[in-house]
């Protein structure tokens, strides 16, 4: 035993006492639901309509835990005199979750968007055999799949998103041209043409707008919920479906309101003008790239004076430099 000063012992007692006086971090699980991220790999859901029985998932699975059965079916020709085609029909799609190692390769390789991850995790069983789930069960989990989260600001947006932005951009240009055309020859019958152009432009911004309709504070559609419960669905499933129903209803309502708010040309314009205006600056900001490396001396000195460590000060000063440069560049652009 070394000559104990006892100070360390007292400090330790202080730490535990401090924690006792603070609220605990425990989540009371069955009473309190965990807040899981949309990307959480909880269970694999199947959209069986999308499956073409290409077998990629089954072959790529490191544990060989996906079982697929199918048969071929003759499809009558579309046009008369054409050839009859064959189509794969999915008979069985089963995943043995007792073997699955949740690596997500199947979801990743699926070329037809038939497999998705869902954060649903409450499917434990009393018997290992019961963990083999067939396509009906996998389809049910589809209702619990959340929409993918938006990406970070610095990310390259996926093609679907950039396409939508492009479309909206084009529509805005068209609409702009149309209004100009309408404004210039005031008494000319060009108003008709302008109206037509605006009307043509309308679907695109509406599509862009549709993505923006976001329903906060998701509630449960009680009617749907009750109905599903009455049908004998599990509470969780019913809740998820009822939520989806609520969101659908809300979106429809919002859309209807928007459409009702403005009727004619002006209404078609305003979403057209707004949507790209919000979407457009994003890629622009991403373009401004500053070679980091230099230090903003002023910030650096100030941080050092504040007693920050050298390393922190340096990295913060770097960031300050980058910010300044970016502001300069952008200012230049605007001018």
């Amino acid at each position: 035993m070394p000559a104990a000063t006892g100070l360390g012992l007292l400090k330790g007692l202080g730490v535990t006492l401090k924690h006792m006086l603070r609220p605990a971090v425990t989540q009371q699980y069955p009473h309190e639901r965990p807040d899981l991220a949309p990307r959480t790999r909880g269970v694999i859901a199947l959209m069986d309509e999308n499956c073409t029985v290409c077998m990629l998932c089954s072959r790529e699975c490191p544990d060989w835990c996906i079982y697929i059965d199918s048969h071929k079916e003759q499809v009558p020709p579309k046009n008369e005199g054409g050839r009859a085609r064959t189509r794969n029909v999915l008979d069985r799609f089963a995943i043995d979750f007792a073997l699955c190692m949740y690596c997500g390769i199947c979801v990743e390789v699926c070329p037809f968007d038939a497999l998705f991850w869902s954060p649903e995790f409450e499917y434990s069983t009393y018997d290992i055999d019961e963990l083999l789930h067939e396509k009906e069960k996998l389809r049910e989990w589809m209702d619990t799949v959340p929409p993918p989260p938006p990406l970070d600001e610095g990310a390259v947006q996926p093609k679907e998103v950039t396409d939508a932005i492009d479309k909206a951009e084009k529509a805005r240009e068209k609409a702009l041209a149309a209004t100009q055309a309408k404004a210039a020859p005031a008494e000319a019958p060009a108003g008709d043409g302008g109206g037509a152009a605006a009307a043509a432009a309308a679907p695109a911004p509406a599509a862009a707008k549709k993505e923006e309709i976001h329903v906060d504070d998701v509630q449960i559609d009680q009617e749907t919920f009750d109905k599903l419960i009455a049908e004998g669905q599990s509470e969780r499933m019913a809740r998820a479906k009822a939520k989806a129903a609520y969101v659908r209803k809300e979106k429809a309502r919002i859309r209807a309101e928007q459409e009702a708010a403005g009727g004619g040309d002006a209404a078609a314009e305003s979403p057209a003008a707004e949507a790209p205006a919000e979407a457009a600056p994003e890629p622009k900001q991403a373009e401004v790239h500053v070679e980091a490396g230099e230090i903003d001396q002023e910030t650096y000195d100030q941080l050092i004076a504040e007693g920050k460590s050298e390393r922190i000060a340096r990295s913060k000063a770097k960031a300050a430099y980058v910010r300044k440069k970016k502001a300069e560049l952008q200012g230049g652009d605007d001018a």
Binding site: R39, W117, G154, V156, H289
Partner: protein
């Protein structure tokens, strides 16, 4: 005691590595025999299925032999039958506490052989997650080491922090332990919106909470008494056993492949390498705590430096690595992880040799255990940070 008069008794071996002959010490009626005690394979202090066969005279350990292989799962052989994407899901699991760093090693070695340019953004994000993974791993050992010494509380604090970090990483990767976020040529998908903001906040929070471990454990006189000068490992011995990571740094050798042989963008950030003085259990724990702070420093630098851009490359449907061979080492949380990849141009490697840090680190255990007391065995086993899956593979 009359049955102990014989000088040497033969005990039938019940398992490989167990001693056959038992020496008797002392005279006549006072003759005592060493007791052979099997610590493990099922024992709370070996966290996993390591077995240490020790010979005890009273509580003093005369000889200690680690017996490994109870958890051999044939990773290297399995890797020969899997493509690179599947190998990443597999290597996540040999050291289950540093999943991201393991898969990173496979991705890096494959990319090196493909001579592939990985997008800058992907490299920075890889670094960010790798450092968070390092903290996750170190937190686990902070908790388990102190738990083995009898202090139950740091474990719970460590798991509180781990929970927060896992929650953060789950939002980006979908996994909590086995991230499988890498792919050859980059990352599977970009970070979700708000990740960096939350990462910043969490970094500040964890940094604040690390002080609790200092107060609770590092200054505690009982802890000092238990760990100071226990299981000392001099630098030359450590190097001769191939010990790496915090165990080597505790011996005073500032070896860290993030500094000595930088990969990703580690040459563009400042990587602090804490070192110890005596290489004893205390220094190993001290270095472990300081390495967490160092990782937080790196994380803070990364936040400001992540460029925008793509995070992966268009890949062919089947990734085939050209013929050849390559060895690459990275700094795993527990030490240096090396992957030696031999490819014959097929979609699976011809051979993937893993040099895992835990395996080399436990090689030094018999050296450290000679002549110490039974409770010190626990201090030594706990402070030579290893994961049994990483030892047996």
């Amino acid at each position: 005691m009359s049955d102990l008069d014989v000088r040497s008794v033969t005990v039938p071996a019940t398992a490989p590595g167990e001693s056959m002959a038992v020496e008797l010490v002392g005279d006549g009626d006072f003759a005592t025999q060493d007791m052979t005690l099997s610590i493990g394979p099922q024992h709370p202090a070996t966290h996993g299925v390591l077995r240490v066969v020790i010979e005890l005279d009273g509580e003093r350990i005369m000889k200690a032999t680690p017996v490994i292989g109870y958890m051999h799962r044939g990773f290297e052989k399995l890797a020969e039958y899997r493509d690179y994407r599947q190998i990443m899901a597999l290597t996540n699991r040999h050291d289950w506490l540093s999943g991201f760093n393991n898969e990173l090693g496979v991705a890096l070695v494959a990319e090196k052989m493909l001579e592939m340019e990985v997008p800058e953004r992907a490299q920075w994000i890889r670094m960010l997650i790798a450092e968070w993974g390092r903290i996750l791993n170190h937190l686990m050992f902070t908790g388990s080491f102190t738990l083995e010494l009898g202090a139950i509380t740091p474990m719970f604090y460590a798991f509180r922090e781990r929970e927060d970090i896992q929650h953060l990483l789950e939002s980006a990767t979908g996994g909590r332990l086995h991230f499988t976020y890498n792919q050859v040529g980059g990352l599977k998908i970009d970070l979700p919106k708000g990740f960096l903001k939350r990462s910043r906040e969490l970094s500040a929070l964890v940094r604040k909470r690390l002080k609790d471990y200092d107060d609770l454990v590092l200054g505690n006189e009982i802890f000092l008494a238990r760990t100071k000068h226990v299981g000392s490992l001099p630098p030359d011995v450590a190097l001769s056993f191939g010990v790496t990571g915090p165990t080597l740094q505790a011996a005073g050798v500032a070896e860290d492949s993030r500094v000595t042989e930088p990969y990703l963008k580690y040459d563009e950030v400042d990587v602090p390498v804490p070192v110890g003085e005596n290489g004893d259990a205390f220094d190993r724990f001290y270095v472990l705590l300081r390495r967490m702070a160092a990782s937080l420093d790196i994380i803070d630098q990364i936040h400001d430096n992540i460029p925008s851009g793509p995070v992966n490359q268009k890949l062919p449907k089947i990734v085939k690595v050209p013929e050849g061979e390559c060895y690459l080492r990275i700094e795993n949380p527990l030490g240096q992880l090396g992957y030696y990849l031999v490819s014959d141009g097929q979609k699976n490697p011809w051979r993937l040799k893993m040099r895992t840090p835990s395996f080399s680190n436990i090689a030094a255990i018999p050296y450290m255990l000679e002549g110490v007391l039974l409770p010190d065995l626990i201090a030594v086993l706990g402070s030579v940070f290893f994961v049994v899956g990483d030892v047996d593979r």
